[in-house]
């Protein structure tokens, strides 16, 4: 345990000096402020609370941003060490590879937590300032925080796996961006295409709801969509989300970070520095 903490501590120093911490916090803070203020502009007639509107906008953005930050923090974790030549020495020390991985994961989760937490804290502050304490809805806020962490953790783990598999930072960054594009953009487009082609057949009714929650980014989106906004948006997502249900979405977001870390461990275990 002390080895994990020591690795985490070192990684936090590095992340701070590399300005990753500042970048992540600035990015989340900026977008959350903009979305909280601007998101409230056209509300009135829709009857949704200002907090709901803000959190829905932030959810939509976080689907893109949180995985990106996760991958940016992690793609270099092992490949960078292999390239710098610090990996062989690190692996000769009396700690296991899983401890090294968990130490890095802990540090990067803290960075993510700070960025997401400060971002949502600003949303909270702005809401209180504009609409008073009564407008605060704590449950959706905390749910967004927790699910953002799970989503970020998933992409941290996937980033480590990529990093360990290719061992070159250049290639790792390319693959990471590719993975991000697939997970948050192309996957949904593919599902949409399949839906259109299937025209309400077997795929639409049986496979689609599960294919949707199998992607952690979509599970995250569904979990944070308040009922009223689903109705409001009148998308098919609401219907689909009822098939897989809350349990399906939650287990997707719980299983993914663990599975991703496990993939990373499998890839890291094979490395001969």
């Amino acid at each position: 345990m002390s080895s994990i903490l020591s690795i985490a501590r070192l990684e936090l120093i590095i992340a701070r000096r590399n300005l990753w911490v500042a970048t992540a916090i600035l990015l989340m803070a900026l977008f959350n402020i903009v979305l909280t203020i601007a998101g409230n502009a056209p509300t009135g007639e829709l009857g949704a609370s200002p907090m709901t509107i803000a959190l829905t906008s932030i959810t939509t953005l976080s689907v893109y941003l949180v995985p990106l930050i996760g991958l940016l923090l992690s793609f270099d974790a092992i490949a960078g060490e292999a390239e710098r030549g610090t990996l062989a020495l690190g692996l000769s020390y009396p700690l296991s590879r899983i401890e090294i991985l968990l130490g890095k994961f802990l540090a990067h989760m803290i960075v993510l937590g700070a960025a997401i937490g400060i971002g949502l804290g600003l949303t909270l502050a702005i809401t209180v300032y504009r609409y008073g304490v009564g407008a605060v809805e704590l449950v959706p806020l905390l749910r967004l925080f927790a699910t953002s962490m799970a989503l970020g953790g998933t992409f941290l783990g996937l980033g480590y796996a990529i990093s360990a598999l290719v061992k070159q930072t250049g290639a790792a960054s390319g693959i990471a961006i590719g993975l991000w594009l697939i997970a948050v953009v192309l996957y949904d487009l593919g599902l949409l295409g399949a839906l259109v082609a299937d025209a309400g057949g077997y795929f639409t009714k049986v496979i689609f709801p599960y294919a949707l929650v199998a992607n952690p980014a979509d599970a995250f989106r569904l979990l944070n969509m308040p009922e009223q906004s689903v109705n409001m948006l009148a998308t098919g997502l609401g219907a689909a989300s009822q098939v897989s249900g809350f349990a399906g979405q939650l287990s997707s977001l719980l299983i993914w970070p663990l599975a991703a870390l496990f993939f990373a461990f499998l890839a890291f275990r094979k490395i001969e520095p």
């Binding site: 070192l10 120093i13 590095i14 590399n18 030549g85 610090t86 062989a88 692996l91 000769s92 001969e272």
Partner: protein, 298 residues
């Protein structure tokens, strides 16, 4: 029990055999130099000792434990070839981190920074360090936590002569405290006085493994004499001793180790006309070339 015991180790990468049946042991307090060309298998052997690479055949025991096991790693210090650290950390942060992993005290880490001459730069980022300074951080982390086995891969590359000298002082201290030291090096001359035993690796095979004196004897390489007289007397020195004239005042001759005493007495018999005598036994370079070549003929 030897601190490090390598028994009949073979390493194959597919069909390519990079280490062929190597057996070598290092006792506590002993300093052994592992010599070899690039690609002779030194780094491969080191990585197998550290458990970073699986052994194809044979066995390695590190202080009675399997290589790479927690018990083996806890007592082993390793300095990789051209050691690197994250440039954003300071020397002190990096060494304190290593101390925590090795369960050594921060006080020891700070003392070591001073010992390797980095006290003034300890709080600067490693990015600003010279290669020699990074090498010193590397050496300091080896000594952390009093290891029982130290593995040093090309430890003095990038160090100036004074730093090399200080480096070997620290290695000597390690050995005096009962640590078994194995180091690989290209800089042969510095090893002559600073190691107890020399193992020469050629194309994955161990071709020599003995003290320098014993290797000299076994190779029976000629000993070089350089006798200096004056320009007037050199002619008669040359006729009496034989050999060849090298400049206006000196004669060079060679003999086998057995003939050494005989040649010396015939030189002293010349009396006062001899101004100076240099006796040079085969250097480590020559020995190294000798043993590497002997194997190549097979």
């Amino acid at each position: 029990m030897a601190a490090l015991d390598i028994k009949n180790v073979i390493k194959r990468h597919g069909k390519l055999q990079t280490v062929s049946d190597v057996s070598l042991s290092v006792a506590a307090g002993e300093r052994v130099a592992l010599l070899g060309h690039n690609g002779a298998g030194k780094t491969t052997i080191i990585k197998m000792i550290l458990g970073l690479m699986p052994i194809t055949e044979g066995s390695i025991s590190v202080l009675g434990h399997a290589p790479g096991s927690a018990a083996a790693r806890a007592q082993t210090g390793y300095l990789p070839e051209s050691v690197a650290f994250h440039g954003s950390l300071t020397g002190r942060e990096q060494l304190h981190h290593f101390a925590r992993l090795k369960k050594a005290s921060k006080t020891q880490a700070d003392e070591l920074l001073e010992r390797v001459g980095l006290a003034h730069a300890a709080d600067r980022k490693i990015r600003t360090y010279s290669k020699g300074m990074r090498q010193r951080v590397g050496l300091a982390q080896v000594v952390l936590g009093q290891p029982k086995l130290a593995i040093l891969d090309e430890p003095t590359s990038g160090l100036d002569p004074v730093s090399r000298h200080e480096f070997y002082d620290i290695v000597e201290e390690l050995a005096e405290n009962g640590c078994a030291v194995m180091l690989s090096s290209h800089a042969l001359t510095e090893l002559e006085l600073r190691t107890d035993r020399i193992a020469i690796l050629s194309k994955g095979q161990l071709v020599a493994n003995d003290s320098l004196q014993a290797l000299r004897k076994e190779a029976a390489l000629p000993i070089k004499f350089k006798v200096t007289a004056t320009s007037e007397t050199i002619e008669s020195v040359n006729t009496q001793l034989g050999g060849s004239r090298v400049n206006g005042r000196s004669v060079e001759l060679f003999c086998t180790p057995d003939e050494k005493v005989g040649v010396l007495s015939s030189i002293t018999a010349l009396g006062a006309i001899v101004k100076d005598v240099d006796v040079t036994p085969a250097s480590l370079e020559e020995l190294y070339r000798h043993f590497s070549k002997v194997e190549e003929k097979h």
